[in-house]
């Protein structure tokens, strides 16, 4: 150890670090520390010149250890390990000190920041001396991928991977894939028919030899790691035998039980107790909704069984548990519409002619409950005036502080559709700001201005049926401050549409936990890096795509779906990936055979040998979590790259200036 030769590099990160930390002082000081043979500061260590500096020094000074003090290891640990490796040094003989996120960004106090930088550098030096050369673990990548969620994000990713020749398991919990896009009528800004562009993709998924579609299914359990996950999927009982069903729809027609369809029809229409959400559903097989089926509820009926020409109905069918093996996972679980009942002053649920945006999508859809006619709740009357209220549940600290990003555009789309179907009707859009960044989006807004939509700048205060003045009787009155003229206005209309925002799925946190991900404060999945790595997550091998990561429209969702697929395709094509060799190891001589560690391991990676009365870690299963290391009463378990010696030295290092003889006293004097 005494002969170790350490090189220390302090990064300025432009002014990110150098603006707060006296980097030159830290470098000078580092050069005076034992074992250090060279210490430098440099503007951008991650640049190719910065890396070359390290490589050159390793060769010239015969460095045996390298420390870089810069940003988070999440950003550049790989970069600097690569530099070491290129210069012939084992990459694990490198250590990184984070003096940006953990130091310069956290304070404006230059003196304290410099002092802390020294402590962090000292810790890294002390630790790196005890590092051992390690070889990365090689993991073979299973070329199959699990995709959870069959909206447009999941569909896109599935087709990309399948077309690249890799197998995909697509798990969708509803009876059909399609997600929200299947509910939409036209899509902004080009107004192409949503079904026309979506259905072919759904059919392609259905027929693709490389895609196993598991609809009406949910993931129960996930085990393993990048390259080798084992996933348990619950295939819920459809009560329809898929092999026999031809999708003729006779059962649906005959079923006597009508139910309000709160899912696909957004509450605006009905379905039967045995149903397919919509005619183009993929797969084509119906399901029995046992909560409403007369046979399941009162033990009478069996009409569908009687009329099914192929005998495909099976009331006894049970849920099935399937175990599948995949190398990577994409979560594409989408969003949920904000429930405007939470804003009582907008009257949804109380005032009949207040509709949600999804209800309106179903209403204008030719295949929807009204056949595409825009009518009031009575199903007949055409409105003469329509108010569209933006930002319902969005940009509001009482609900969701964020902007839902798509509502301005779909509200403009709605205005256009009303003009198109009811040319006589007046349309009012109430907005705080019109947000139309996107190709062709601002132009679409301009088009609506020309179509004669009334734009009133002001967030709606309330919608009421309490008439106050003549002209208001029998109408819904939208009360608002028209902020451009600074006056309160009451605008009587026949119909109100609430442009509700996008929210994370209610079970997002559970799902995240199952897959080892994090959720942000709003429940959206957290990406590895918001700019540079938006589809990866902190868990290797688990990717995210679409609105489960945050509100976005279809073009952005599709781009993410394809991006996640591309990331996985590149991993698969590498066949093997290298993983951190951070694994536990049991010293058989020290093991007392107490078996405390056996049950503790969350990955069941520890076996007990009865004959020798010792435990052993199966390296291939170990994830390096360290639970057993901490628990072993005999101190028999060590973890590579996290040995006691390494950690204790690191702690000693960080406390260098608080020991009695340290510089701390000098600083205080």
């Amino acid at each position: 150890m005494s002969e170790e030769r350490v090189g220390v590099y302090i990064c300025h990160c432009g002014t990110n670090i150098a603006g707060t930390v006296d980097v030159e002082d830290v470098a000078r000081w580092a050069g005076e520390q034992p074992h250090v043979v060279v210490a430098r500061d440099y503007k951008f260590m991650c640049s190719s010149l910065g890396q070359e500096l390290i490589e050159k020094d390793i060769k010239e000074f015969g460095l045996t250890r390298v420390v870089v003090a810069s940003c988070s290891p999440h950003m550049h640990e790989k970069t600097f390990r690569g530099a070491c490796e290129r210069a012939g040094l084992n990459p694990f003989l490198f250590e990184m000190a984070n003096i940006r996120e953990q130091d310069s960004w956290a304070t404006n106090d230059r003196k304290a920041a410099t002092q802390k930088a020294k402590a962090l550098v000292k810790a890294a030096i002390e630790r790196v001396i005890h590092h051992e050369p390690l070889d990365p673990l090689q993991v073979e990548i299973n070329s199959s991928t699990l995709i959870v969620g069959g909206g447009i994000a999941g569909i896109t990713a599935a087709l990309e991977l399948a077309n690249a020749g890799y197998h995909v398991y697509l798990v969708e919990r509803e009876p059909s894939i399609g997600g929200h896009m299947a509910q939409l009528d036209k899509t902004f800004p080009t107004l192409d028919c949503s079904a026309c562009i979506l259905t072919p993709k759904m059919v392609e998924v259905d027929q693709h030899p490389n895609i196993t579609l598991l609809s009406y299914s949910e993931v129960e359990k996930v085990e393993g790691h990048l390259g080798d996950f084992t996933v348990t999927v619950r295939k819920k009982a459809r009560h329809v035998i898929e092999d026999l069903c031809t999708g003729c729809g006779e059962c649906e027609r005959r079923c006597p039980k009508r139910v309000i369809d709160n899912s696909f029809e957004a509450g605006l229409g009905f379905r039967k107790a045995i149903y397919r959400p919509f005619p183009q559903a993929v797969p084509k097989y119906p399901v029995i909704d046992t909560d409403n089926c007369l046979w399941f509820q009162i033990g009478k009926c069996r009409v569908c069984e009687r009329f099914c020409p192929t005998g495909a109905i099976d009331y006894e069918q049970q849920d099935e548990l399937l175990e599948i093996k995949v190398g990577n996972i994409i979560l594409a679980t989408g969003y949920k519409l904000f429930d405007p009942r939470r804003i009582p002053q907008y009257g949804y649920g109380r005032l009949a002619n207040v509709f949600t945006s999804l209800e309106f999508e179903r209403m204008v859809n030719a295949a929807g409950p009204t056949g595409g006619r825009i009518v009031l709740r009575d199903g007949e009357t055409e409105p003469k005036s329509v108010a569209i209220i933006h930002c319902v549940g969005s940009r509001d600290r009482n609900y969701n502080e964020y902007c839902s990003k798509v509502c301005c555009m779909y509200s403009l789309k709605f205005a256009h559709l009303v003009h198109e179907r009811l040319p006589e009707a007046e349309v009012y859009n109430f907005y705080i700001d019109i947000r139309t960044p996107g190709k062709g989006y601002e132009e679409f807004y301009h088009r609506l201005l020309e179509e004669g939509t009334h734009f009133i700048r002001g967030r709606v205060a309330e919608v009421t049926d309490a008439a106050r003045q003549p002209g208001e009787e029998g109408k819904l009155i939208v009360q608002v401050e028209d902020t451009l003229i600074g006056k309160q206005r009451r605008i009587p209309v026949d119909m109100v549409i609430l442009s509700a925002g996008l929210e994370a799925q209610p079970d997002a946190r559970e799902v995240a936990q199952k897959f080892g991900l994090g959720c942000d404060a709003n429940g959206f999945f957290v990406e590895r890096h918001p700019k540079l790595d938006p589809v990866a997550t902190m868990t290797d091998g688990v990717f995210i795509a679409g609105t489960c990561q945050g509100p976005r429209d279809i073009p952005d969702t599709v781009a993410q779906g394809a991006a996640a697929a591309a990331r996985i395709a590149s991993l698969i094509s590498q066949r093997v990936v290298q993983m951190e060799p951070v694994r536990a190891h049991i010293d058989e001589d020290l093991c007392s055979g107490c078996r405390i560690c056996n049950d503790l391991c969350p990955y069941n990676a520890i076996v007990y040998h009865e004959d020798r009365q010792v435990s052993e870690v199966i390296t291939a299963l170990c994830q390096g979590c360290g639970a057993c290391v901490a628990a072993c009463p005999s101190g028999a378990i060590t973890e590579a790259h996290f040995t006691d010696e390494q950690i204790m030295s690191e702690i000693e290092g960080i406390l260098w200036d608080v020991r009695p003889q340290g510089a701390h006293e000098a600083a205080l004097a």
Partner: protein, 320 residues
């Protein structure tokens, strides 16, 4: 259940009926109200317009007294007046949130030998105590004269639900008074303006503004054919009741809607005599409304518009 009781100035005089009915029903509901000794006016909405620290000191004297006398009332202070309820809970809230404010207020209180620790008294509205501490079931069990046949518009006004320093119901669409009235057997109108403003002191500042605010409330209740408006606040009662004739004169309308305190209607349902409940002090005669009681059959469950035709209506979560 014992509580400190802060009647507030209105209940001494103009809202004497509120006080009488509250005091009459309380023991029957198992509530013991111990009036805070030597309480002072909370300043209504006036003092805060003039001077901040004195306004808070004025309110805080009451909190300090309540804290001193809390052995009898378990740290709970009940106000039947919504403005008092707001002021008392607001002072407690901001003294806790802004320590420098608390320090100044306590400095002022010390001139009178008093001190108040923010958070030590929980301020409650009488309605909150009745529906949540006594509870609907217990009240239901005591009803001996159901209010069947009486259509009431439950009127909450502002300060009982907003801004909600001691929130117990929704600020926009509260339902506790609706439920209470239903439990008493009355038919409840879904009154859209139930949390709109009665104008407060506006009658004194700008009559046309005030009368218009009152007119809206009366009109809406009349549109829904309510026999009576039920209130939880003396200011609301005064505005809707005493100014009803002014509204009629000013707008040429002809409203005759009695405005009653919720405690009065509880009293009726518990078969307490009208005199004890302070009836007869209202400007708009309550007798025609009270005469309807017992004429209708109690409503069976909730009215649900069944729609055979047309599009399905979104369902609201049940409000019990």
């Amino acid at each position: 259940m014992r509580y400190g009781y802060y009647p507030g100035c209105s209940l001494e005089r103009n809202a004497i009926a509120y006080h009488q009915s509250a005091v009459a029903v309380a023991p029957q509901l198992g509530i013991e109200l111990n009036e805070i000794d030597d309480w002072n006016c909370c300043g209504a909405t006036e003092y805060s317009s003039i001077d901040l620290i004195p306004a808070y000191a004025l309110i805080a004297r009451n909190l300090a007294l309540a804290e001193q006398q809390q052995d009898e009332n378990g740290g709970q202070l009940v106000a039947p007046c919504s403005a008092c309820f707001l002021n008392l809970s607001k002072a407690d809230h901001y003294m806790a949130e802004a320590p420098d404010l608390a320090e100044k207020v306590n400095d002022a209180l010390s001139a009178g030998g008093l001190h108040y620790d923010p958070g030590s008294i929980q301020v409650r509205h009488l309605l909150d105590v009745i529906v949540n501490d006594v509870g609907y079931d217990a009240i239901k069990a005591k009803v001996s004269k159901p209010l069947s046949g009486l259509r009431v518009a439950p009127y909450y006004g502002c300060l009982i639900v907003r801004p909600g320093y001691q929130a117990f119901d929704d600020p926009e669409y509260p339902t506790s008074l609706d439920k209470l009235m239903r439990v008493l057997g009355a038919e409840v109108v879904d009154y859209p303006l139930k949390t709109h403003c009665c104008g407060g002191h506006m009658t004194q500042i700008s009559r046309p503004t005030a009368l218009e605010l009152i007119r809206r409330l009366l009109k809406n209740a009349a549109d829904y054919e309510a026999d009576a408006i039920v209130t939880v606040c003396p200011m609301c009662q005064l505005n809707l009741d005493a100014f009803q004739a002014d509204v009629n004169r000013f707008f040429g309308t002809d409203f005759h809607i009695p405005v009653l305190y919720f405690t009065q209607l509880i009293g009726v349902a518990l078969n307490i005599s009208p005199v004890e409940l302070g009836f007869g002090k209202e400007f708009v005669d309550a007798r025609p409304a009270l005469d309807k009681i017992g004429t209708g059959s109690p409503p069976t469950g909730r009215r649900r518009r069944s729609r055979e035709k047309g599009l399905p209506m979104p369902t609201m979560s049940e409000e019990g």
